[in-house]
Symmetry: C2
Amino acid sequence: MARENKISMEHGAGGQQMQSLIGSVILKNLKKTCAGTVGLDSLDDGASITLLKENCGGFQSDKIELVMTTDSHVVKPIFFPGGDIGRVSVCGAVNDLSVMGARPLALSCGMIIPEGFDITDLEKVVCSMNAVLEEVGVPIITGDTKTVEGSALDSIMINISGIGICDAPVRDSGLSPGDKIIVSGYIADHGMALLTKREGFEFNSDLVSDVAPVWKMIEPALSVRTKDGKKAISAMKDPTRGGIADSLNEMAQKSKVGIQIEEEKIPIREAVQTSCEMLGLDPLEIANEGKVVLGVHPDYAEQVLKILKQHPYGKDAAIIGVAGTDKPGKVILVSALGSTRYVDVPTGDPIPRVC
Amino acid sequence: MARENKISMEHGAGGQQMQSLIGSVILKNLKKTCAGTVGLDSLDDGASITLLKENCGGFQSDKIELVMTTDSHVVKPIFFPGGDIGRVSVCGAVNDLSVMGARPLALSCGMIIPEGFDITDLEKVVCSMNAVLEEVGVPIITGDTKTVEGSALDSIMINISGIGICDAPVRDSGLSPGDKIIVSGYIADHGMALLTKREGFEFNSDLVSDVAPVWKMIEPALSVRTKDGKKAISAMKDPTRGGIADSLNEMAQKSKVGIQIEEEKIPIREAVQTSCEMLGLDPLEIANEGKVVLGVHPDYAEQVLKILKQHPYGKDAAIIGVAGTDKPGKVILVSALGSTRYVDVPTGDPIPRVC
């Protein structure tokens, strides 16, 4: 009996057992699986997305701007405080689309599962995916399931790709001197929650990951426009691997501006700060899975901040710095006492397999 | 020195080393990486696809039908006669879009690489991808690279997702009684080439995989229309895992028709036939990676066949059977001597990790 509740190689063989697994574990637990003529339940070679003039923001008769994103998730352990690989993987795609300024339209899901993997665990993962899909209102419309020998892979790995739509993408390179830098809440929770669980630390046992889909928080902020009709949000990233250190450096380099951030304004939980100090980790380099770093036109920064704060995921948002012409491509951290240091691009990963 | 040419955990850490790997191995070898405002070289959170009225077949002012597909590839060994995991993964997405009747617009690439993987091998894989992209004229516009401990994964695994565009998708469920069944060439080459290489068989050492992108072969056949303006091609699948046995059964079940195929009309190489017999394998269940199974309106079957035969990948195409009202949902194989048997849905995978 135990054997029957484990993934076997036949579950990935493209035949009857795979169909049955998809039906009983995946389709059963996903509520929204269609965005066009052909949806996930057709189990066809792909699925379709119908774009209708009346229901597509940014739809013009001569041009449509789609956004595509992809992420493969190798998070370890797959279940952790505040989430699991299912929640992380769907949030990963939703958040990448969101920070491009694109409304999520549809997702795909490619799973690689080792032989012997517990089907009850698979079902939990799929249910976690579904919770995010329902929250955001986006379907998984197509998928792929592969199985490999248990010796070939240590756990399930999930790729989610996504399609969104926008009038014009928000780019990393969009910062101008003067733009305010906002972070949407407490940093480093995801990485530290994962590390705490993985290493079995006694301290910080209450710490949970921030993994969450940011679209509903971002959507109203995207409609804030400058006098010339441009988005007030000039650049946006979700600071996952490499933390806000990596996101800010990418923005500074691509936008050819310097970024100065004030240490005391960065939202960070005391427990996270303390354990980072104990472990010799820089919280700026630790991954987040439900946070956004934004550059915003200075005249609209307070308005955008207020909008973000109205959403539960953004209630601790703060303006943490400003872009300038000094030291283009660099990020400078100013401490409470006024000393400064460069925030470097992380060279390695303090916490591997974080997403 | 040797160490430097191997993947390390830092290559997946989201920082400087990852950027450098992406630049020197991926971007350097991919020629076409953009389909809109933001392309792969922006290394942003995603990329964009611009749909313009003048360059989108099937574009109408009030409705656009996109097709999305995804496949994770776990093929073993990653290099085999006739191709490698790079070629298989890009062909997988291109072919899934093609058999949905959709012109490929853009692809994403998510790679999971074990620590210690040879960077020269990675470069070979990327070059193979590029060759297919150039042949089809489709870019990889966004990607993701994850690394894991060498003990966690036995080799590189690649997800390719794709977006295409069409007026109306060609579905598995579109077969009508009377429709002719066409296969676009010799079956079972991919699976048997892989098995031969994997097991080191002495016989069949000349066998090569058929892995190829079928879009250019399919495209002109999609324009064949019936008198009422519908596509003459009523259903289409690429018979990968589970072979044509699985594809035909899916078509029969979803279309609620019976399919009768004639054994002697199925294109199969003698070497493949012989080795299948030796190994007790059914060639109908063996994977293909550059073949298509089509259902075509009977009045247009010869015309579609002729079009397929004009392309090198379709030169051995043949009409192998017909859909009917008898035994709906079932596939029946008629031997040269007139005996019949059901072609069952494969229950397991005779050759695992084939794609």
